[in-house]
């Protein structure tokens, strides 16, 4: 994973990056880098690639859990608000109906659940991804401009214990990576 701050690393490099021509090659390269013992790395692709995150050792996606919690909070909050309004804050007798007429509160409770869940899906995804982030070292590589268009990249980061600039660069070249380059911090 790439989220550790590597600013203090003595080499002053973020890592070594190589370019791959297709998603299949990138996935294969990631598997081999992982098998070779590299752990601090990240792969970049202009499309979501199946199995790519798993190939670099990503296991737990917590977005769904956050959304579940938010949905439960939305239900409790929504229903709680309506009960509080109608039973405690502003008890209002309408034609002798019970103050706690909960079936009528379901639509608003449902909307509160959806609203909170959807906002949490956005916010938790961004927060766990560390976005918004105005600067990142990978953008220092000129060819990386195409990472959002048609090229696929693997970057082994300098914070990895196994990282040795020259060795890692040679290793990436051996995986079939083109344009192996050092990423300045």
């Amino acid at each position: 994973m790439s989220h550790g701050k590597t600013l203090s690393h003595p080499t002053g490099t973020h890592g070594v990056m190589a370019e791959f021509g297709s998603p299949e090659r990138l996935v294969a390269a990631c598997h081999r880098a992982y098998a070779a013992g590299y752990r601090k790395m990240d792969a970049y692709a202009p499309i979501p690639v199946e199995g790519l995150a798993e190939a670099i050792g990503f296991k737990r996606n917590k977005v769904a859990f956050c959304v579940l919690i938010a949905g439960i909070c939305g239900v409790i909050g929504g229903l709680g608000l309506l009960e509080w309004i109608t039973v405690i804050a502003y008890p209002h007798n309408v034609g002798g109906r019970p103050l706690n007429s909960w079936p009528a509160y379901i639509p608003i409770t449902f909307e509160c659940m959806i609203l909170l869940s959807a906002l949490t899906a956005l916010v938790s995804m961004l927060a766990m991804n560390g976005l918004p982030r105005p600067y990142h070292a990978v953008f220092n590589v000129p060819a990386f401009k195409r990472a959002s268009i048609d090229k696929f990249f693997l970057c082994i980061e300098s914070s990895d214990p196994k990282f040795e600039e020259a060795d890692t660069a040679r290793f990436l070249g051996g995986l079939g990576g083109r344009e192996v380059s050092v990423v300045p911090e």
Partner: protein
Amino acid sequence: METTEKADYQKLPERLIPDPGPDSILGPGHDYDSVTRRIAGIVYLPLKNSPKKWLVGAFIAFCFVNLLMLAVGWLFLKGTGIWGINIPIGWGFAIINFVWWIGIGHAGTLISAVLFLLKQDWRTSINRFSEAMTLFAVACAGMFPILHLGRPWLAYWLFPYPNSMALWPQPRSPLEWDVFAVSTYGTVSLVFWYVGLLPDLASMRDGAPHLWQRKIYGILALGWRGSAIHWHRYQKAYLLLAGLATPLVLSVHTIVSFDFAISVIPGWHTTIFPPYFVAGAVYSGFAMVLTLIIPLRSWYNMRDLITLRHIEAASKLMLGVGLIVAYGYGMEAFFAWYSGDKYESFMYWNRMTGPYGFTYVLLILCNILLPQALWSRKVRHNLVLVWIISIIVNIGMWLERFVIVVTSLHRDFLPSSWGIYIPSKWDWATYAGTLGFFMFLIFLFVRALPSISIFEVREVVHHESHGEHLEPVGEEA
């Protein structure tokens, strides 16, 4: 390199790009780079080289935006008395247009969320555009109930908040449910749209020919860099949003139908309203999608991105949903007769033969009879006919709301409280104004953001060119 890239975006492709036909969702010869350039190129195109039709269309729409300003300004000064509403017909155009607009929004969510969950590949090129349509339609819809309040500047009273009057809104009322449903729908549609846009904004940032464009798209892209782990969370979030938007879209029009169904007015008080309203919403939404994408793909020479496959699939869905709507009409008439309730049966007879009988006849013609032409493959492949039918359905669905709102209210239980509703020029001005507002936003959207999801089209390219196999792990690539 920089200069050639700049030159590339000066003009749209000059030769006419052919449609690959009804079996293909993407024209031949595309790779990741070419689809990016084609879709982003529409946005990078200098304003002076925009199609003339865009300029003329945007100008006309802008004139109508001004008409809306005028109509709303006058309404703020004079109050709802400038409209044709009266007692008993208190709802008039404001509610007709509210229901119509929000219905149009529904197809956007259906295309982007429901078809995503069902893994329909043809949604890809039209989902972004439909989501934008949803947002703008909800914006138009949201205006009407607020303008109808009488004192629109006090609209915030609708929300529960601690206030010095020690009053709270009534959460047992469907009108209060509406507040939550519509505001949630607008917010979730915006979130869904923005999440879908995020990777494309990064592409726009990285390919932009000018620094100012890179800055704007850079800010909007939030520093997206396509990391595998980011994509993983992104896809999960997108899937969840689709899963949340699907029941949401059903709930919204259900709640809108409760505004009617929970009352005791003959013609409104029926259990068929929720499903029938949802079907009607999707019907009008697909009609609006077709009305917009058929000219758009021709103006911007995108026949290889939005193909006959998309148009045919949307037409078939429109036809199918239209039949559900027809069933709804049939059931309404059946209930009126079978209930044995004299008010119900009078209401239905009056709806067909009373002062507004012509609207009912037109409604059946526009919504049920004419769209049956879509059964024919020849008609579905004739874009001019599909476009005309889509407009007819839009008109028909608007008439449906007119019929439901006006004919039910104007002949109530007591003949002494019967009345007639004639919309005033300010009703028409407000309605035409929101049409212009909607179209103007669509015109701006096409110029400012990628109107087709770039990364999803790249996925289509990937699936079509490479197949879906991954090379065996550990072998030299």
